[in-house]
Symmetry: C2
Subunit: 527 residues, 2 copies
C-alpha cells in the first residue's frame, strides 16, 4: 500500500506540510496518493539513523549482506502487479518495459549479492613481515576495501526501478556495506515507496540494523541539497541532468569535508558513419537507427542524439531513409508533462538554429504528452561553432552532421564534450583507415561500439556506464556492473595487526577462500 509518507529507517513518517501528487502522463491526470515531502527534522533523523546503522552494517559478513540483497529482490517480486501498475501510472511506460526493468533491477541486486557472498571483490592484499630484512625489518601490512559511510542516492526520472530506489546505486552501496538514503524522484514517488517498503521488509527479515535504508520524499531540490550538505553523509549517487548533477557536485565540493559525487548526466552519444558503411547499407542502418532514436520515446541516456558522417550519396540516402522511417513510427507517451514540455522546447531550439534543416518531423497533432519525433541536419562548420547544437535534446530527436571531409569529422569529434558512448559504423576493413578518428572518439567517451546502437546497456562486469565530464562527474568509475561498488569504498590498511583480530578477508588462514594478492601474487592459498 502506498501511504505517501517517508521511510525513516523502519518508521513511516509524514510530519511535513509540503505535499504533491504524481502524474499519469498517459491519462493526463494526477494519481491519487498525496505525498508528504520530508522535513528538515526527518532528514536529520534519517541521516543520524544511517550513521548509527553504519557502525554495525559496515562489519556485516558478505553472506549476510547477500541475504539482504536477495531478500530485497524477492520482496520486489512479491509486490507483483501493484508495482507494475504503479510504475505504469507514474511513467506512461508500457507493461513490457515495467517488467523488463524490474527484471534488470532484480538481476542487479542478485549480481551484487553473488559478488559480496563470494568476497574477493575487497581486493585483499597481504605483504607479510620480513623480520630479517636489512637495514630494517619489514612490518606486516594487509589491505582491503571498506565502505565509506552513508550514501545518498538520487533516483532517475527515466528508470523508476533500475536506476532509482533499489537500482544500481542503492544495490552497489548496500553491497559495499554503506547505508543508503534515497531522495525519491517526485515523478514516481509511489513506485519509490513500494520499492522502499520491499527494502524495509527485507531489512527486517534479514536482521539488518534499523536505518540501513531510508526513503525521503521531495518535490523540489531542497531535500537533496540538505542531504548532500549533511556532515554525516559520505557519498552521493545521482542519475539525471547536467545541471542537477553539477549543482550537487559543486555543493559537495564546498563542504568543510568534501565528499565524492558520482553523477551520470547523460550525453548525445555520437554515432560516426564511415563512408563505405553507407555505400551499400544506408537503408538498413537508417531503419536500425529510426528504432534506436525512438526506443523508449528517446528517453535513454544512451539515445543517439548525434550522427556524424562525411557528405556523400550514401549519407544523403541514409538521411532520406531515416526521415521516411522515423515518421512512420507511432508517437509514444513521455514520462511527464514537464519532460514533454522540455523536449518540445529543446527540439524547437535546435531546429531553430542557423543552417539547421529539419528533415523529418511529425507535424500532425498527437495525444497530450506524446512526443513528436524529429530528425534534423546541419553542416560540420556550423556544428563546430554552435555549442547549442551539442546539447542533449532528451527525447526522440537526432541531428545528422554532414562533414566536408575526414579532417572536419575528426575535428568535430575531438571537440565534443565527454560522452557516455560513441559508435563507429564501418565496413569490416574500413575502420583501420580511420585510426585517428577512432582514437579521437575513444578519448571522448566511456564506451565505444562497433556496428551497433548505443541504446541498451548490458549489466555485465565489462560494462562501463559513465565517461569523461559531463557524461559523468568522475570518469574513473562506472554506474553499471559489478565495479559500480568501487564508488563507495576505500582501501584500508592494517599494520602488524593480530591475526585473530583481523577481518576474515585478511586472516592468515583465508577462511573465506577468496582470491588475494599475497607477496604480489594472486592466490586463494592460506599463508
Amino acid at each position: 500500500m502506498i501511504t505517501g509518507k517517508n521511510y525513516i529507517g523502519n518508521s513511516l513518517s509524514g510530519k511535513g506540510t509540503i505535499t504533491y501528487k504524481t502524474y499519469n502522463p498517459k491519462s493526463n491526470s494526477e494519481n491519487e496518493t498525496t505525498f508528504t515531502e520530508a522535513t528538515a527534522e526527518e532528514i536529520e533523523e534519517a541521516v543520524n539513523l544511517a550513521s548509527e546503522a553504519f557502525k554495525e552494517f559496515q562489519t556485516i559478513s558478505g553472506p549476510k549482506k547477500a541475504a539482504f540483497l536477495n531478500a530485497i529482490a524477492d520482496e520486489i517480486l512479491a509486490l507483483d502487479d501493484e508495482l507494475v501498475q504503479t510504475y505504469m501510472s507514474e511513467s506512461g511506460l508500457p507493461e513490457g518495459r515495467a517488467k523488463g526493468e524490474r527484471g534488470r533491477t532484480i538481476g542487479q541486486l542478485r549480481t551484487f549479492a553473488a559478488l559480496v557472498e563470494e568476497g574477493s571483490w575487497v581486493e585483499a592484499r597481504i605483504d607479510p613481515a620480513q623480520p630479517n630484512r636489512e637495514p630494517r625489518p619489514r612490518v606486516d601490512v594487509r589491505k582491503m576495501l571498506v565502505p565509506i559511510g552513508p550514501i545518498v542516492v538520487f533516483g532517475a526520472s527515466n528508470f523508476p526501478l533500475a536506476y532509482s530506489t533499489a537500482g544500481g546505486d542503492t544495490a552497489s552501496a548496500l553491497a559495499s556495506g554503506c547505508p543508503v538514503i534515497v531522495k525519491s524522484h517526485p515523478m514516481h514517488a509511489g513506485t519509490g515507496e513500494l520499492v522502499a517498503s520491499a527494502i524495509q521488509k527485507a531489512a527486517e527479515k534479514t536482521d539488518m540494523p534499523n536505518g540501513v535504508f531510508s526513503n525521503l520524499n521531495s518535490s523540489g531540490i531542497e531535500v537533496g541539497q540538505q542531504l548532500v550538505a549533511h556532515p554525516k553523509v559520505k557519498g552521493v549517487g545521482f542519475t539525471g541532468s547536467i545541471r542537477g548533477g553539477r549543482a550537487l557536485l559543486d555543493l559537495a565540493a564546498k563542504r568543510p569535508e568534501p565528499i565524492p559525487v558520482f553523477a551520470e548526466m547523460g550525453s548525445i552519444n555520437p554515432v560516426v558513419f564511415l563512408p563505405k558503411s553507407l555505400e551499400t547499407k544506408a537503408e538498413t542502418w537508417a531503419k536500425t537507427y529510426a528504432g534506436s532514436i525512438t526506443l523508449g520515446t528517446g528517453q535513454f541516456c544512451t539515445n543517439p542524439g548525434l550522427i556524424l558522417g562525411i557528405k556523400s550519396e550514401g549519407l544523403t540516402s541514409f538521411i532520406d531513409t531515416l526521415s521516411n522511417e522515423i515518421i512512420q513510427i507511432a508517437p509514444k507517451c513521455m514520462l511527464h508533462p514537464n519532460i514533454h514540455a522540455a523536449y518540445t522546447n529543446n527540439k524547437l531550439q535546435a531546429l531553430d538554429q542557423n543552417n539547421v534543416i529539419t528533415v523529418a518531423a511529425i507535424t500532425e497533432t498527437v495525444t497530450e504528452n506524446y512526443a513528436q519525433q524529429a530528425v534534423a541536419t546541419v553542416d560540420g562548420k556550423t556544428f563546430l561553432e554552435n555549442k547549442t547544437l551539442h546539447e542533449e535534446v532528451f527525447g526522440p530527436f537526432s541531428l545528422v552532421v554532414q562533414c566536408e571531409n575526414a579532417a572536419e569529422l575528426e575535428e568535430i569529434i575531438a571537440n565534443l564534450e565527454g560522452q557516455l558512448t560513441g559508435t563507429i559504423i564501418s565496413e569490416e576493413n574500413e575502420v583501420s583507415s580511420y585510426e585517428s578518428v577512432v582514437q579521437a572518439l575513444a578519448s571522448r567517451v566511456g564506451r565505444i561500439i562497433f556496428n551497433g546502437v548505443p541504446t541498451g546497456v548490458e549489466v555485465v562486469p565489462a560494462m562501463l556506464h559513465g565517461g569523461p565530464y559531463p557524461a559523468s562527474t568522475d570518469s574513473r568509475f562506472t554506474a553499471v556492473g559489478r565495479d559500480a561498488i568501487k564508488r563507495w569504498v576505500r582501501p584500508f590498511s592494517y599494520q602488524d595487526w593480530p591475526n585473530e583480530l583481523l577481518p576474515d578477508e585478511l586472516k592468515n588462514e583465508n577462511p573465506l577462500g577468496i582470491l588475494r594478492l599475497v607477496n604480489d601474487q594472486e592466490t586463494t592459498d592460506k599463508l
Copy 2:
C-alpha cells in the same frame, strides 16, 4: 649540471623574469644557481606538448613503458654524487637519508615498471556475446583501464626525491600512460632539475614522445594555479599542506570540466595507549616514541603528533620518560628557514593554549634552522573543545592527551579529523576489550598500526597512504604502492569491437598472458 631553467619536454627554457635561489638550511646560506620561474607561455607550451604526447604515449605497450621507467631509475643513479650533494644542500638532510630516499625512489620506479610490464593491472574484463540469449542477443563487451591524460604533479617539501619530481605520483602516472608536468618545489629546485634531466635522458633513450614529461620552476603559487586550471590538464597529484591541497581541490572543482585532485595533506597521526600497555612497558614505549617524534626532525606526514591515553600511573610514567628521553636527542636541522619559522610559531601557539602544560622542551639556544623539540600535555575535555590543538605542528612535537576514562577517549577519537594513520598500543589481549575504540579509530584513518610507530611507510601493494579528509582529498585512493596507479586511469569499454583492432589486453588469444575476468571468472586462458 643545474641550469636553473625549465624543461619543456626535451628543451631547456628560461624566458621569465621571476628568479629565485634555493637555500641551504645547514650552512644558513643561499645556494648558487638562479632558477627562472616558468612563464604563462612556457606553461602553455608544456601542457600542449603533453597533450600531443598523450596521443602516442597512451598506446605505448607495457614493456616499453617499463623500459622508460627503468631507464629513469638508471639515469637517477647515474647522477650519483651530484644528486646526493644537491639534495643535502637544499634540504639540510643527511647523506644517509638522501641515499635512502633515492633507493625508495628507484624502488618505486622499478615496481611500477614491473607492474606494467606484466600487464594484469589493467583489470581486463571480458563478457563475450551470447547470440542466442532470449529475448535479445547479448553483445560482446570488454573493458580495461586506460590513462586519463596529462597529470600535474606538485612535489613535496619534505621528500625531494620520493614524493617529488620522479616520486610516486610521477612514477604511477607515467606507468599508467599519462604524461606528467611537474610543478617543481621551490625549496629543492636543483634536485628537481637534476631528476628532470634524468627523466628526459631516459625518455630520449627509450624513444618516448617529446612532452611526455616537463619540469616547471615556480617560486609561488601562480604556476601551479595556472596548470590546474588548464583545460588540457586531466588530473593533479599533490603532497603538502591542507591549505595548499584544499586550494587546488577548490580550483579543480570550479573548472568547466572538473578534474580529480589527489592531495595527501598530512595529519597528526593519533597514537592510542591502552591502559595495560603502560603498566609494565611505559619506559620502553616512551623511548621508542622519543625516536619516532624526532625522526627526520619530525618532518614526516606520519609523525605521531597526538598521543592519547587514560589518566594513570602508567601514563604519567610514560610522559616523564618521554620528556627525559626527547630532550636528550640532539636537535637537528629543518628543511628551510620558512619551515623552521612555521614550526616555532605553531609549536608556541599550541603550548600557549589554555590548560596545555609543556612537559619537555629544549630551551637552550641551538644552531640556526635547527628545531627545538617539545612535548606537551593537556586534559581530554580541553582537547575536545579546542580545535587549535588538532592542527598539525609540522616538526618534532607531540601532544599527550590525558583522558578521564575510556568513554572520553572514544569520544575524542570519534571527533578527530581524518588521519593518515592511527596506532593502538596494547598488551596482546587488552585490545579485544576496546572494540569500539578501535572501530572509532579505524573510521578516522587510512592505516591502523598495532604496537608500532606510524613513521615509516612501506612501499608494498598492501600499503594505504591516504585517508579520510583532510588526510587526503579522496579516501578512495592511495599515494603509495601499486594501487597508486588507479588515480590516473578510467575504465573504458569496447562493444562488439573487431578482435584484431582490440588492444592486446582484450584480444581473444590473450597475447600478453595477463589475468582477466572472463565470464566473471579470473583466468589467464585465451577465449
